[in-house]
């Protein structure tokens, strides 16, 4: 891993914020934890995060509303919904708002870490694929330019 990945934890429960932060930090991530949706938006605007863990119910807004906001502002950030309300409508709502994963509390921290790792890997691969495509495009363009007779 070339650099440490950054994770934003959004949960109104202080115990969850503290414990999940410590677990993820132990896994080598840089973790910021906030209580409200408003704080989460502020943090995401001022810092780059690879991934966000979002609680479904927040004091000031629904977690799904936060999903919509992040889809606009930070589309490449991985968004994982963690909810204590495991209903079908909540799951459908989350999927429609492009959540990358949907976990139900109390989630096994090992599963959570596994999900985080897997989603970050997908993100990394996607990023690598884009970079490769850019490199390929540039190389192809250079070759095309080389073949053309020098007009100058």
């Amino acid at each position: 891993m070339s650099e440490r990945k950054r994770i934003l934890v959004v949960d109104d429960d202080s115990s969850i914020r503290i414990t999940i932060s410590m677990i993820l930090e132990a896994e080598g991530y840089v973790v910021d934890a906030v209580e409200t949706g408003k704080e989460a938006i502020e943090k995401a605007n001022s810092n780059y995060y690879n991934l966000a863990l979002l609680d479904y119910r927040l004091p000031d807004m629904e977690g799904t509303a936060l999903l919509s906001t992040f889809k606009e502002t930070t589309p490449k950030m991985v968004k994982i919904m963690v909810t204590g309300y495991p209903s079908m409508s909540n799951a459908i709502d989350s999927v429609n708002r492009k959540a990358d994963a949907f976990l139900v509390k109390p989630v096994d921290p090992a599963v959570l870490i596994q999900t985080v790792k897997s989603e970050l890997k997908k993100q990394e691969e996607a990023q690598a694929y884009s970079e490769k495509k850019v490199v390929e495009f540039i190389e192809t363009r250079i070759k095309q330019l080389d073949k053309q007779p020098n007009t100058t």
Binding site: I16, E35, P109
Partner: protein, 595 residues
């Protein structure tokens, strides 16, 4: 309109309409029948009157025949001997036979003898020239070919009407040839009419058809009657009917109209009968409808009313043991039974729905501390942590356990009955205890304005708990700090406690739901705080009000009435549990465990 009133009114209207209908029907059908019967009877009576007049004329025929069929008369018409006149045509002959004139006409129309007699004054009179001219002008009155022929009937003169009889003059052995006729007659005067009235038992009036002074009813009868249709009847007034008979003269021309007036006894009897019938019918209908109303009242209405009251109290009391009473085995009993079944099913369904809702809320609320504990144990199990990290994790485990415990305690507390124990205290003491019970963070500025030391009677534990819940909510509404104000005022026999915060406030639509369990605006918790507060206040006959200015804060107000509130032992009845879920453990822990 109630069924009782509606049924009563409908029955009264039906009763009235039936009676009016039957009355009108009887008036049109039955009365017209009686009128028709009355007319027939009257016409029948008029036939008797005509028959009586004809009988009088027939008796004259017998008299005239006695004289005409006699050898002495047979000789007299030829020789006109005075002895015959002296022996037979004396005044007494006229008097006893009630005749007014006798005229002997020979076969050539010559008047052999003619005498008139005034029955009133017993005087001989000359025979009216008009009569003599009529006889000489009408030979059908006296010219007969054989002894079997004769003429009798009514003859009208200009000033009088007479009954006449003309018989052929033959020998005593009834052989001829016919030598003329004996023509006798009597004027139909008042005496004759009175005699006829007596014999027919009917008051008779007679007018010539060509009388210039014909009364109106005679004129009407005259215009409707004819030779072929000679009898009629017509009501004179409500109590009298007139019968009319048109009689022809000897020339078969309309001559006189006789009227007999009779009481309308048939109609009167008929109407009396209809009256009795209507009275009987009305009485019967009243009895029938009365019986129906009594049956309806006892069998249906009163029971429905009772059922309605019981159903009403079902909704108010929410007491599952108080179902509606089932009496008898009829449709209403079936309804009551069905109602009971449905109520039980609904209650069960409601209970399941409540349990479901509650389970969802408890499930979610417990998931957070469980997640915290699970995270901490996972972290501790990795063994990679430092000492201070382990301590922190253990702290989090403890916090989560305490929070889980509070969830369970709230649930148990809300579902059990409240039994307030009233003691004397002061608003100041209650506020001090409530503020002490709530851990106020440092960023909250507390303005305690309750200095009221007047005695009040409340359950100190419960009441301070209610106030503490409001204070706790106010503190939680200001996570970034603010000002908490607690104050009290006395207003119109009420004691008011106000708890204000400078938080975000709450939206208007939340106001109506305040105090309902499972309704909360917090991300954590199940909304039991205000629900418990509300129950405590209801146990004190008080109420909870809330005002909010969005973005500027909220004020929750406890209103406690100081009068009209029972604080004796009678009031220590358990208040009903709002939550319909009652676990057996909750029942066992009845008595109120203070968290």
């Amino acid at each position: 309109m109630k069924i009782r009133t509606k049924t009563g009114l409908t029955m009264a209207v039906v009763l009235l309409c039936t009676i009016i209908g039957v009355y009108l029907l009887s008036q049109t059908v039955l009365t017209s029948g009686y009128v028709s019967l009355e007319e027939q009877t009257t016409i029948q009576d008029m036939r008797k009157v005509v028959s009586a007049i004809n009988d009088s004329i027939n008796s004259m025929d017998v008299f005239a025949s006695d004289y005409a069929q006699w050898d002495d008369t047979y000789a007299f018409i030829e020789n006109n001997n005075t002895a015959y006149i002296q022996n037979n045509l004396v005044d007494s002959t006229f008097r006893y036979s009630n005749l007014n004139f006798m005229i002997y006409v020979n076969s050539t129309g010559g008047i052999v003898y003619a005498k008139a007699y005034d029955q009133v004054n017993d005087l001989d009179l000359p025979v009216s020239q008009e009569l003599l001219q009529m006889i000489s002008g009408h030979e059908e009155l006296w010219r007969f070919d054989n002894q079997a022929e004769h003429v009798s009937g009514i003859l009208t003169l200009s000033n009088s009407t007479a009954m006449i009889s003309s018989e052929p003059i033959v020998k005593s052995d009834a052989t001829g040839p016919v030598r003329g006729a004996v023509f006798i007659g009597k004027y139909i005067d008042q005496e004759i009419i009175d005699d006829l009235s007596i014999s027919t038992h009917l008051p008779l009036v007679l007018y010539k058809t060509d009388d210039a002074n014909l009364p109106d009813d005679f004129r009407v009868a005259n215009s409707t009657l004819s030779v072929e249709n000679s009898l009629s009847a017509k009501a004179v007034n409500a109590t009298t009917i007139g019968g009319y008979a048109l009689m022809t003269d000897v020339f078969s021309n309309p001559a006189v109209i006789v009227r007999a007036e009779m009481p309308r006894s048939i109609l009167a009897q008929g109407q009396t009968t209809i009256g009795y019938f209507l009275m009987l019918l009305s009485a019967s209908l009243v009895i029938v409808f009365g019986t129906i109303m009594i049956l309806l009242e006892k069998g249906v209405l009163s029971r429905l009313s009772k059922l309605s009251k019981e159903v009403g109290s079902l909704g108010d009391a929410r007491d599952l043991s108080q179902l509606v009473t089932v009496e008898g085995n009829d449709e209403i009993a079936s309804l009551a039974r069905a109602l009971n079944d449905t109520t039980l099913k609904l209650t069960k369904a409601e209970r399941f729905a409540s349990i479901g809702e509650l389970a969802t809320m408890v499930g979610h609320d417990l998931r957070n501390p469980l997640q915290g504990i699970r995270n901490a144990t996972y972290f501790l199990r990795t063994g990679m942590q430092q000492v201070d990290q382990s301590r922190r994790m253990l702290d989090e485990i403890e916090k989560s356990i305490i929070y889980s415990d509070s969830i369970v305690r709230n649930l148990v507390e809300y579902s059990q009955e409240l039994r307030p124990k009233f003691t004397r205290t002061t608003p100041k003491a209650i506020a001090a205890k409530a503020l002490l019970d709530v851990g106020i963070p440092n960023n909250i500025n507390v303005l305690d304005r309750i200095h009221d030391e007047t005695e009040i009677t409340v359950d100190t534990e419960l009441f301070s708990r209610a106030l503490a819940n409001l204070i706790q909510n106010a503190v939680e509404a200001m996570p970034k700090g603010g000002t908490l104000t607690v104050e009290n005022i006395r207003l119109n026999d009420n004691l008011e406690f106000k708890v204000s915060d400078t938080g975000c406030g709450f939206p208007e639509e939340f106001k109506s739901k305040i105090g309902n369990p499972l309704v909360t605006r917090k991300a954590r918790g199940m909304g039991f705080g205000l629900a418990i507060t509300k129950r405590i206040l209801e146990a004190h006959k008080g109420s909870l009000q809330a005002e909010s200015i969005n973005g500027k804060g909220s004020t929750f107000k406890i209103v406690l009435p100081l009068t009209g509130r029972k604080c004796d032992k009678d009031a220590e009845q358990p208040s009903s549990s709002i939550l319909s879920v009652q676990t057996p453990s909750a029942e066992r822990e009845k008595g109120g465990e203070r968290p």
